[in-house]
C-alpha cells in the first residue's frame, strides 16, 4: 500500500471512527480524545466560516470598499457589536441588554409572524381544503377514502389540540382531579393522545432508519478498510 495523500485521510477517518464507536463498550479515554479533537477542529472551522462568510461580506468589505454614507449606516451594527463584546466584562453586564433587545425583538417578531403565517394558517388551510368536494371526486374510486381521510384529519387535529388545553376542571373535589381538563375537552384529548402516539411512533422509526444507515455506513467503511489492509499484506 503506497503511502498516498488519500491514504492519510482514510487512516485518520478509520481511527476516529473506531475511537468514537468504542463508546458502545463504555465511556473511555479514546472516545474523549476523539471528541475533544473534533470539538477543537469544529470550533476553529466555525471561527473561519463566520469571518469568511459573515463578518467579511456583511461588515468589513462594505466598511472598506463602500461609500461613506454606507459606512455611516454601518456605525449602528458596529456600536451594537461593541456593546455585546463589552457586556462580557462583569462590570459592564448592564450594557448587554441593548444589543440583546435588538435580537429579542427580531426573534419575537419572526416567532409571531412565523407562527401565524407559517404554521397556523397553512396547516388550518390544508385541513379545510381536504373538505373540498372537487377533490373528493377527482379520483373516482377513492371518494370514500378521501372523505374518511378528511374527517379523520379534522377529528384527530381537534383532539390533539384539546390534549394540550391548559385550563383545569372548574369544580374539583379531590387532589387527583387537578390533572383533569374540562369534561368535553377531556374526552377529545383522549382521541388526541392516540394520534400523538401514532405520529411519534412513525417519526421514531424514521429517526431510527436514519441512524441505522449511519451505522451501516460506518460498519461498511471499517470492513472495507480492514479487507484492504489484509489484502495489502
Amino acid at each position: 500500500m503506497t503511502f498516498t495523500y488519500e491514504l492519510l485521510w482514510i487512516i485518520l477517518s478509520f481511527l476516529l471512527t473506531v475511537m468514537v464507536l468504542s463508546y458502545l463498550l463504555g465511556d473511555n479515554i479514546f472516545f474523549r480524545v476523539a471528541a475533544h479533537l473534533f470539538i477543537g477542529l469544529t470550533a476553529g472551522y466555525v471561527v473561519l466560516l463566520i469571518a469568511n462568510q459573515i463578518l467579511w461580506p456583511y461588515l468589513i468589505n462594505p466598511l472598506i470598499n463602500g461609500t461613506w454614507p454606507e459606512a455611516l449606516w454601518l456605525a449602528i451594527p458596529v456600536v451594537l457589536i461593541l456593546m455585546l463584546l463589552l457586556s462580557q466584562i462583569r462590570r459592564f453586564t448592564w450594557i448587554g441588554s441593548l444589543p440583546l433587545a435588538y435580537l429579542a425583538g427580531l426573534a419575537a417578531a419572526i416567532a409571531v409572524g412565523g407562527a401565524v403565517f407559517g404554521t397556523l394558517l397553512p396547516q388550518s388551510r390544508a385541513i379545510v381544503d381536504s373538505f373540498d368536494p372537487a377533490r373528493w371526486y377527482a379520483v373516482p374510486n377513492q371518494t370514500w377514502l378521501r372523505i374518511l381521510d378528511a374527517v379523520v384529519m379534522l377529528v384527530g387535529t381537534v383532539g390533539t389540540l384539546s390534549f394540550f388545553h391548559f385550563g383545569r376542571k372548574q369544580k374539583t373535589t379531590s387532589e387527583e382531579e387537578y390533572e383533569k381538563q374540562p369534561s368535553i375537552i377531556e374526552g377529545l384529548s383522549k382521541v388526541g393522545q392516540v394520534f400523538i402516539g401514532i405520529t411519534l411512533g412513525a417519526v421514531f422509526s424514521g429517526v431510527f432508519s436514519s441512524s441505522l444507515l449511519a451505522l451501516i455506513d460506518r460498519i461498511l467503511f471499517i470492513g472495507q478498510f480492514l479487507t484492504n489492509l489484509f489484502r495489502s499484506f
Binding site: 458502545l24 463498550l25 463504555g26 472551522y45 466555525v46 466560516l49 462568510q53 459573515i54 461580506p57 456583511y58 461588515l59 468589505n61 462594505p62 463602500g66 461609500t67 454614507p69 454606507e70 455611516l72 449606516w73 454601518l74 427580531l106 419572526i110 409572524g113 412565523g114 407559517g118 397553512p122 396547516q123 390544508a126 381544503d129 405520529t199 412513525a202 417519526v203 422509526s205 424514521g206 429517526v207 431510527f208 432508519s209 436514519s210 441505522l212 444507515l213 449511519a214 451505522l215 451501516i216 455506513d217 460498519i219 461498511l220 470492513g223
Partner: protein, 572 residues
C-alpha cells in the same frame, strides 16, 4: 439669638429668612414649620400588627414606626403641647447617630438568618431591605429616638415610663405600675410559652427571658399574628441604668428659648443602652427553634432505581445490531435490490427529472449536517450523475455551517463533474432566522439614500429548478416557505432523510413541492430508474434486517414489561 428654621427635608437648621436650605437646597418657605402629624390620618392607615397582612419584615418594621408616631402624637395632644425635643429624645438622637451601626437585636436576627438551614436567604434580603427603609425614614422623623422607640414597643412593663416623668407621678406609684406591668408581662409571656410548648419555666429562666430572647419570641409571635394588640396596649420597657441617668437632665419647658444640652463626654465613655442577654441563651433558643422547624420540614422520599443494568443492555444490543449488520453486509452474494412500492411524491420526482431539459439551471441547497451525509449522498449521487449527464448548470448554496465541506464531499465523488463550472453562492444562516430575511430580497421601488443594500442579496430568479437537500423538517420547511414567496414559478424538489419525510408530505399534497425522495427505498428506485450503477447494494438488506430487529425488540420489550407488571401485581 436669631430665630432658626429647621428644613423639613434634611433637618438642617437654617436662618429664619433663608429661602432654601443650605444643606439640601430644599424649599423652606411654604412649610418651614414642622409637619404636624394628624392623628385621624394616622388612624386610617393604622397598622394592625396582628392582621397578618403585612407578612414581610420590612413592612412590619415600617408599620411599627408609623404606629408609634400615632401614639406619640396622641400623647402630645392630651397634654396640648407643641411637640418639642425632650431631653430623652435628644439623648436618644445622639445615641442613634452615634450607634449608626445595626442595633443588637437586628444583628441577632441576621445571625439567625445565616444559621437556619431552611432559610432561603430571604431573611437576609428582608433585613437589608429593612435597613434601607429605616434609613429612608430617618429624615422624616429626625426627632425620633430609635432606642426609646424599641423600648416603648416592648410591652406593658415600661408603659408608665414613656410618659414624661415630670407629669407629677410619685415614686411609689411608679413601683406599683412596675409590678402591675410585670404581672401582665408574665401573663403575656406565659401565653408565648404556651404557644412554644415551654410550660414549666423555672424562676431564673423567667429572669433570663426578660432580656433579648423575649424580644425575639415576641417578634415571632407578631409575625405569626398570635398576640391580639387591640385589647391591650402592651408596651414592654425595661428600665436600665442608662435610662435612669438620662432622667436627671432637667429641662425648663416654659423658658422662651431652649438650650439643647449636648453630651460632651467622649464617645468611648458613653455606653449605648444594651439589653443584657448572654450569647449562649440566644444561640440555644435559636438552635431549639431551628431544630423544631427542621424536624417538621417535609423530606422528599427518593428511591434511586438501580440502572447499572442499562450499560449491559446497551452493550448487548450493540453486539446484536453490529453482528447482524456485518453478516448482512459482508456474507452472501450481492442481490439485485427489489424496489418497493413507489410513493406519489417519489413518482412526482421521477417525472420531473425525466422531463428535465439539457443544460437546465439547477439551484442545489445544502441544509444538512455531516452526520446525515451518508444517507443523503446515497440518494443524491444518482441524481447528480444524471444531472451531469444532462450538462446542467449547477449553483450551490448552503445554510448549514458545514455546507462547504458537504458540497465538496458530495460533488467530489461524482465522476465526470467539472467543479470549476459550478457557482458557489455562499452561506446563508437560514437556521438563525427561519429564512425570513430571504423573502425580503424582493426589489423595492424606493431606496433610502446611502442605505447600504443587503450585503448579500439572495438571487430571486434565474433557475429552472430547485433541489433542497435537508435532514430536518424545520430546515426544509423554512426554504419551501421562502422560495414559494421569492420564486413562485420555479419547481421545488426535496431530497430528505427518513426522519424528515413524514412531516413534509403535506407540502407535496398542497403542491408547494412537486417531488420528494427519502430513505433507502427511494434510493433503490432512483438507481434502477436512472440506471446510474449500483451504489446501495448490500446496504438495503442490512437496512431491512435492522428495521425488523427494532420492531422485534419493541414487541419483546412490551411483552417483558407486561410480564413484570403481572409478577408485581401477583406479588402485591
Amino acid at each position: 439669638m436669631t430665630e432658626k428654621i429647621t428644613c423639613p427635608e434634611c433637618g438642617a437648621e437654617n436662618l429664619e429668612d433663608a429661602e432654601f436650605c443650605i444643606v439640601c437646597h430644599a424649599q423652606l418657605r411654604e412649610d418651614s414649620t414642622l409637619a404636624f402629624v394628624d392623628p385621624q390620618q394616622s388612624d386610617q392607615d393604622g397598622f394592625d400588627l396582628l392582621n397578618g397582612e403585612e407578612d414581610d419584615l420590612p413592612g412590619l418594621l415600617h408599620a411599627l414606626k408609623q404606629e408609634d408616631e400615632a401614639e406619640t402624637a396622641e400623647d402630645k395632644s392630651q397634654e396640648n403641647e407643641l411637640p418639642s425635643i425632650t431631653p430623652e429624645d435628644e439623648f436618644g438622637k445622639e445615641d442613634i447617630q452615634e450607634d449608626e451601626g445595626i442595633p443588637g437585636w437586628l444583628d441577632r436576627v441576621r445571625q439567625r438568618a445565616t444559621e437556619e438551614e431552611d432559610s432561603t436567604g430571604e431573611i437576609t434580603q428582608k433585613i437589608s431591605a429593612a435597613k434601607e427603609s429605616l434609613k429612608g425614614d430617618k429624615r422624616s422623623t429626625q426627632h425620633e429616638n430609635f432606642e426609646t422607640w424599641i423600648q416603648k414597643l416592648r410591652g406593658p412593663i415600661g408603659g408608665g415610663f414613656d410618659r414624661d416623668p415630670e407629669a407629677g407621678d410619685s415614686s411609689d406609684e411608679l413601683e406599683e405600675e412596675q409590678e402591675e406591668v410585670q404581672e401582665k408581662e408574665s401573663e403575656w409571656l406565659q401565653k408565648i410559652r404556651k404557644a412554644e410548648g415551654k410550660q414549666n419555666v423555672t424562676e431564673d429562666q423567667r429572669i433570663l427571658d426578660h432580656g433579648e430572647n423575649g424580644l425575639l419570641n415576641w417578634l415571632v409571635a407578631l409575625e405569626d399574628g398570635e398576640e391580639d394588640r387591640s385589647g391591650e396596649q402592651g408596651e414592654f420597657d425595661i428600665k436600665t441604668e442608662e435610662d435612669q441617668e438620662s432622667d436627671e437632665v432637667k429641662i425648663d419647658e416654659s423658658a422662651a428659648t431652649q438650650e439643647i444640652p449636648v453630651d460632651e463626654r467622649p464617645l468611648s465613655v458613653r455606653i449605648p443602652p444594651k439589653l443584657s442577654v448572654t450569647d449562649e441563651d440566644r444561640s440555644q433558643a435559636d438552635q431549639l427553634s431551628s431544630m423544631i422547624l427542621d424536624e417538621n420540614a417535609p423530606r422528599p422520599v427518593r428511591v434511586i432505581k438501580r440502572r447499572s443494568k442499562l450499560g449491559a443492555a446497551r452493550f448487548f444490543f450493540a453486539v446484536l445490531l453490529i453482528l447482524s449488520m456485518s453478516l448482512s453486509l459482508f456474507i452472501g452474494e450481492a442481490v439485485v435490490n427489489q424496489s418497493g412500492p413507489i410513493q406519489p411524491h417519489t413518482d412526482g420526482f421521477l417525472s420531473w427529472i425525466k422531463d428535465l431539459e439539457e443544460g437546465a439551471g439547477i439551484l442545489l441547497i445544502f441544509d444538512y449536517q455531516p452526520a446525515y451525509s451518508s444517507e443523503i449522498n446515497l440518494i443524491a449521487s444518482p441524481i447528480l450523475i444524471d444531472l451531469v449527464s444532462r450538462e446542467s448548470d449547477l449553483n450551490l448554496l448552503s445554510s448549514s455551517m458545514s455546507g462547504p465541506i458537504l458540497q465538496r464531499q458530495l460533488i467530489g465523488d461524482i465522476p465526470g463533474l467539472d467543479t470549476d463550472s459550478i457557482t458557489d453562492l455562499g452561506y446563508f444562516p437560514i437556521g438563525a432566522y427561519g429564512a425570513f430575511g430571504l423573502g425580503m430580497g424582493i426589489s423595492a421601488d424606493w431606496q433610502i439614500v446611502g442605505l447600504p443594500e443587503s450585503a448579500r442579496a439572495f438571487p430571486d430568479g434565474g433557475f429552472d429548478s430547485i433541489l433542497i437537500l435537508s435532514d430536518t423538517y424545520g430546515g426544509a420547511r423554512a426554504w419551501i416557505e421562502q422560495l414559494t414567496v421569492l420564486m413562485p414559478d420555479t419547481p421545488i424538489n426535496l431530497v430528505v432523510t427518513a426522519q424528515a419525510m413524514p412531516m413534509l408530505v403535506p407540502y407535496f399534497d398542497s403542491g408547494q413541492i412537486i417531488g420528494m425522495v427519502s430513505g433507502l427505498n427511494d434510493g433503490v428506485i432512483l438507481e434502477t430508474e436512472l440506471s446510474t450503477g449500483v451504489m446501495i447494494g448490500m446496504r438495503r438488506r442490512a437496512y431491512q434486517g435492522g428495521l425488523v430487529i427494532l420492531a422485534a425488540v419493541m414487541v419483546i420489550g412490551a411483552i417483558n414489561a407486561g410480564n413484570q407488571n403481572g409478577e408485581e401485581g401477583g406479588a402485591a
